[in-house]
Amino acid sequence: MKPLAHVGKALAHDSAALHVSGAAVYIDDIAEIEGTLHVAPGFAKEGAKGKILSINLAAAQAAEGVVAVLTAQDIPGKNDCSPVAGDDPIFANGKIEFHGQVIFAVVAKTRDAARRAARLAVIEIEKQKPDVTVADALASNGDLLPPYAFTSKGVVAALKNSTHRHAGQLKIGGQEQFYLEGQVAYAIPQEKGGMFVHSSTQHPTEIQHCVAAMLGIDDAQVICQCRRMGGAFGGKESQAAQWAAIAALAAHITGHPVKCRLDRDDDMMLTGKRHDFEATYEVGLDKSLRIAAVDVLLAARCGYSADLSAAICDRTMFHADNAYFYPQYKIATRRLKTNTISNTAFRGFGGPQGMVFAEAMMESIAIQHGCDALELRKKNLYTKQRNTTPYGQKIDEHLVGKIMATLEKTSSYQKRRKDNAKFNAKSSILKKGLALTPVKFGISFTNTMMNQAGALVHVYGDGSVHLNHGGTEMGQGLYQKVAQVVAEVFGIGVDKITITATRTDKVPNTSPTAASSGSDLNGMAARNAAMAIKARMAEVAGRQHGVHPSKVTFWDGQVSAKTKSSSFAALATACKGARVSLSATGYYSTPAIHWDRATGRGHPFFYFAYGASCSEVLVDTLTGEMKVSRVDILHDVGHSLNPAIDIGQIEGGFVQGMGWVTTEELVFDAEGRLRTHAPSTYKIPCASDVPEDFRVALYESKGNKADTIYRSKAVGEPPLMLPISVWCAVMNAIASLKPGTVPKLDAPATPEAIMRAVKSLGVK
């Protein structure tokens, strides 16, 4: 077999040259069409829950530059922008359910005029006391969606009979996506009542459908396009729809192109975030400290509507085992309604919360029993015999133990553990902590239907290639990876392939670019399209040279048969002359997955992605200040499609996850108002927060066991969970103050949380 020419190469991101020149066009950079108007959302200044008593928009209407003011009554079709349940009104009608819920919008000549006018509205709410926290919602028994659990028959008995028992509680914070490009859409009215929408969205098909339903027209009359997003991270999966719908409504009503770009504060207040959870658990262990049974309740703050919470909380359950075998289990969830913005997708999609519970439990057991947490973790990993997950899928690839063993050596874990113990014995205030934690992350949408993708490939008469597929580009390098796949199939340079914007009129009925599935699904679909064209081209070449098409090879821009060869371009011209179609759609659906939610059994994941990280921290136990001093990562991406892009995903995912478990804290006040709605109050990591000693390596894989595109593995989400080792290292450091006692540390481990944990130990 020939080596690969393009797949597996560390080529630059397809837009890299544009990015460094400021020439990459994001939606707000598109040259505005003459007459373009701007729309800004408006909401009640006060109140998070209650009947809308009155809306007075006269002052907004009269403000300078204002063209129109829109409310629910102006919507010709369906007033809904929800992804699943039909419970997210575009404009609140009659009542509001969280602070900042959009009630109206102002269309004006400039964005500034629209935003200023939106503040002039006078809205009266019959205020009711909101449920803000998980505790509030539990107290009012506010289940938004039915509770759901994986329960084994023997869990109660196994807990009772276990040698050691340990109980704990953990608060797990939410997280703001903080994509650097905020939500934005630009709608342009078309002939016959149609609409063209540029949307910064991970899910163009859903935007298309939402806009069509809102206008009361056919899906086919709406086109949604997305060339690139300035970051998304799940926050533009369902959350882009409302702004696209408002822009489209304004365009429909005024007949002008209309742009809706949220201000950062509005973006943070008005769009969903990662779910916060509270975990309450009990675990039973045998005398060798192997887990016998786990009983955990994970209670989620879902916000005011269902959004994607059902699937997200399911994924929390799917990952509450992380990489560990639980012989008996009850993994229960409550999906709670609160009067806060509806929480939504964010890289990991509920998985991180399940996993941080599992690792907090491990760390706590180790502290309580005075053993090394790594030994405890290794002892409880899935093995060939102990291989069944709480949802019935068998683990058939046992990589994580190998990855951990390698990392243990390369990070000098044992030596540093001893060094830290010595350091901590001498240092009364500054304490070092070290932890090495695994990640096992299931790849596939757990809603089996969504595991499908399409592509559209054209070869032109000059041998150049047009590539389009249903996946969206948010910086993750998907377009580049898929282009490398297509270049490989045709045996031509990647520079011969023109990547084009994702559009609903080129590839229809797509799934969101989410669940790390982008290159798995779209890479396969594009490959299938390219293979179809290649087969036709091979037939023409075979006829020309008198050989069977299977003997025709495509390599290095040449198409060869026996001793003859011609350029790919010449063959393309010949195909056109021979009246052979050089255009094809490609389609792919993931095989071998199934899931029966009613029984809680199945094979929901095509495969798992694995990794591990070892983090060291230095904690000032007097002030709560914390610094991550070194991080080692080993991560499995199968045969990488592009190692530069994959390592970028690992580093970026790690730092984002590190923010989640350390500095990023969402604060809602008792009135349900988000008080951390700007980067001035909400702290994402910056360059000086990231460890200087940051060692990232790809696991030397023999390739994915599952038959994926060139045996690669998905890499978008899994690395986000690697920094759970940072949180565990903080626990490890604090626990050194009083060995044997588990500090009450919540996530994120902010300085305040660290101080509370130190205090919980009751040491002077």
Partner: protein, 156 residues
């Protein structure tokens, strides 16, 4: 109403009238068609709008358009020398120091300003020099490495 402004942007003379409260970022993006600087926050906290004003790195979202009168503005669009990329630009590409790219122009401006003041910064100086620029995608490591590599090349 408005202020009359004359300035030099990336070496070209520009002249326009804008409202006195219009910020430099909007002037660049909406009046001059220079959309390389981005609005990430509008409050001086993210650095996506960074440009160089009379040799000083500024958040263009916090500077008024009127303030550029008589001054020299440098933006990402003027960083390359014709078709030849600045070493920082080249190393950002070669070192894969970008993903979604929205932060990239701001980082390049900030790094350029840093290296003009301090051609041989330590890693810590680079990290703190870039701490006013947020990137949500890359995790910063490759950005820091790219700046180190460019600084080295520029020192010759």
């Amino acid at each position: 109403m408005g202020v009359h402004v004359r300035s030099t942007v990336n070496g070209d003379a520009v002249e326009f009238t804008c409202p006195e409260d219009e910020v430099l970022l909007d002037v660049l993006r909406n009046r001059l068609g220079l959309t390389g600087a981005k609005e990430g926050c509008g409050t001086g906290d993210c650095g996506a709008c960074s440009v160089i004003l009379d040799g000083r790195l500024v958040c263009s979202c916090l500077v008024l358009g009127a303030e550029m009168d008589g001054k020299v503005v440098e933006t990402i669009e003027g960083m390359a020398d014709g078709a030849k990329l600045h070493p920082l630009q080249q190393h950002f590409i070669d070192g894969a120091a970008l993903q979604c790219g929205v932060c990239t122009p701001g980082f390049l401006m900030a790094a350029d300003a840093l290296l003009r003041k301090n051609p041989d910064p330590t890693e810590e100086e680079i990290r703190f020099g870039l701490a006013g620029n947020l990137c949500r995608c890359t995790g910063y490591d490759k950005i820091v490495r790219a700046v180190q590599a460019a600084a080295k090349e520029m020192r010759g």
